[in-house]
C-alpha cells in the first residue's frame, strides 16, 4: 500500500495501542515521580496512588493487546532478532545519528514496507517492550498485591527490593521516552513522524 511515496505503516489497532500506551506511560511517570519524591505539585499522594494503579492496569491490558496484535498480524516480524552483523548495523546507525546526518548523508536504513525500524530503534524497542515493560508490569502487580511478595530476603524487606527494582526499571522507561520523543523528531520534517503516528502514513 503506497501512495505518492507514502507508506501505510501503522495500522489502526497499532496506533490506538501506541496512543494509549503513551498516555498511560506518561501518567505513570508523572504519578510515579510524584510518589517517589512525595511531592504534591500535581497530585495529592493518595490520588497519585489511585491514578498510578489504574493507569498501570490499563497499560497492562493494552500490553496484552500489543502482544496479541504482534502474534496475529504481520507486525510481529519487525521485532525478530537477528544477531548476525548486529554490532555492525548498530554502529552504522549510531554513526549516522552522531555525525552522518549532519554531513547530509542519507539514513543507512531508510524506512520501507519491510523495514519499519532501523537497527537502533528495533533493539531499543525490543528492549523496552519485551524486557522493561514486562518487568515493570510484574513488579507493579506484585506491589499492588504485596501479600504475594516474599516477606524477607536475607532480612531485607521483599517489598523494599521489589519497589526499588520497580522504580529503577520505571526510571529507565522514562529515559527511553525522552530519547524516543526526541529521535522521533528526526524525519522528513521535525513533525512528520509524530503526524504519521496519528494518520498511519509514513512520509
Amino acid at each position: 500500500m503506497s501512495a505518492e511515496g507514502k507508506l501505510y505503516l501503522y495500522p489502526l489497532w497499532l496506533r490506538i495501542w501506541h496512543g494509549m500506551n503513551a498516555l498511560c506511560i506518561i501518567i505513570l511517570i508523572v504519578t510515579g515521580l510524584s510518589m517517589h519524591y512525595s511531592t504534591s505539585i500535581l497530585f495529592k499522594f493518595e490520588s497519585a496512588v489511585a491514578v498510578h494503579n489504574i493507569s498501570g492496569v490499563v497499560l497492562t491490558i493494552f500490553y496484552v493487546l500489543f502482544l496479541a496484535g504482534n502474534l496475529v498480524t504481520e507486525n510481529g516480524k519487525f521485532y525478530q532478532i537477528k544477531t548476525k552483523g548486529l554490532k555492525n548495523r548498530m554502529q552504522q546507525q549510531i554513526k549516522y545519528y552522531v555525525s552522518g546526518m549532519f554531513k547530509g548523508e542519507t539514513s543507512p536504513y531508510p524506512v520501507t514496507a519491510t523495514r519499519k525500524f532501523n537497527p537502533l530503534q528495533k533493539y531499543s524497542y525490543i528492549g523496552v517492550m519485551y524486557i522493561f515493560v514486562p518487568l515493570v508490569i510484574i513488579t507493579g502487580f506484585a506491589l499492588l498485591f504485596p501479600e504475594t511478595i516474599i516477606e524477607d530476603v536475607y532480612q531485607v524487606s521483599g517489598v523494599m527490593l521489589t519497589a526499588i527494582f520497580h522504580s529503577i526499571v520505571g526510571f529507565f522507561i522514562m529515559i527511553f521516552l525522552f530519547v524516543h520523543l526526541y529521535v522521533a523528531s528526526i524525519g522528513k520534517s521535525p513533525v512528520s513522524n509524530y503526524k504519521s503516528m496519528v494518520t498511519g502514513w509514513h512520509s
Binding site: M101, F102, E147, Q155
Partner: protein
Amino acid sequence: MLSSIRAILLLFVFSFLVVPVKSQMVAEENKLCIECHTSQSFTIHNDWTGMDETRLMNPFYILDTVRFVDGVHGAFQCIDCHSYEYETYPHNGELKLEPLMTCIDCHGGDDTYASYQFDRVEEEFEKSIHRELLGDQFTCSKCHDQHYYTPTARTSSSVKEIVEYSNNMCLSCHDNMIKYQLVSDKEKPQLVQIHDWLPNQELHFNRVRCIECHTVVQDSLMVSHNILPKEKATKNCVECHSSNSMLQASLYKYQNLRLRSGNAENDSVSSGEVYSGSFQFLSMNNIFSNQYYVIGASRIPLLNTIFVLIFVFTVAGIVTHAIFRFLKK
C-alpha cells in the same frame, strides 16, 4: 495520701517477693494454681460425694505459662497480686470482688523504673479518648495484660514484631466483640470499613502501629498514650510517605533497632546480617534491614543521585544533538 497507700501496697508486694530471678519456669509456688489454670479441665476431690471429679475450666481463666514467664512479671507468684485465699478451692466467692492493683499502684512514683515514665504515661492515658468516653472502667490492663506484658518496643529487634505486638493490643478488643463489650455496649465499628480509604490496608496494619496514626508522637515518651478522638487521627499519607517521615521519630526510633542494625552490640552476627550489612553503604546511616520501603520516603539517597545524573546526561545529550541539527540545517 494516695501515694503513701501505694507505697505501703508496694512494700506489701515486695515482702512477698523472693529475690526475683528470671527463670524459664513458673515459680514453684505457682504450681498449685497452674495445675488448674493452664488446662482445659481440672480434677478436684469432692468432699461431699467423696469422689474425684473432672470438670471443665472456664476458657477465659486459662493462662499461658510460657507467655507468663516471658512477661515482665514472670517471676511473680500468683498470690503477689491475687489473694492468698485462692489457694483453696472452691475459691471464696467474695474474692470475685477483690480489687486488683493497677500498674500505677505498683509503679507510680517508683524511681526504679523511671525510664518507663509511668507517671507521664498515666497522664497521657488520662487524656485519651478511651478514658473520656469509657471512663474509669478503661484501665491500663485493658491493653496491657498484667500476666504477659513485655515492653516489646524496647526489647525486640524487629519492627515487625513490635508492630504486631502493639496492634494486637488494640485488635484484641477492636476486633473482638467479647472484649469490646466489657467496656462498651455500643455496636463495634468494623475496622476494615472505617479504614477503607487506606489502600493496602492489610499491609499497613502489619507494618505500622495503630498508634502511629491515632496519637501524636511524643519525642520524650517512648510510646505516646494519648489516643486521640477519631477526627484527629491522621489521614495524611505524606506524614509517613515523605523523606522526613514521622516513622523516623516513632516506629524506627528505638535504640534497640539502631544498635542491632549497626551490629554495635552483637558479637554473634548471623550470615543474614552480614549480607544486609553489605547494603548499608546504599542506605548511608539508615537502618536498611529493619525498615520497610515507604514510598516517598526515599531511603536510598545514592539511587536518587544516580537517577538525577543519568537524567541530566540524557537531557544534555538531546540538547547538544538538537543544537547541532539546528546549526547544520
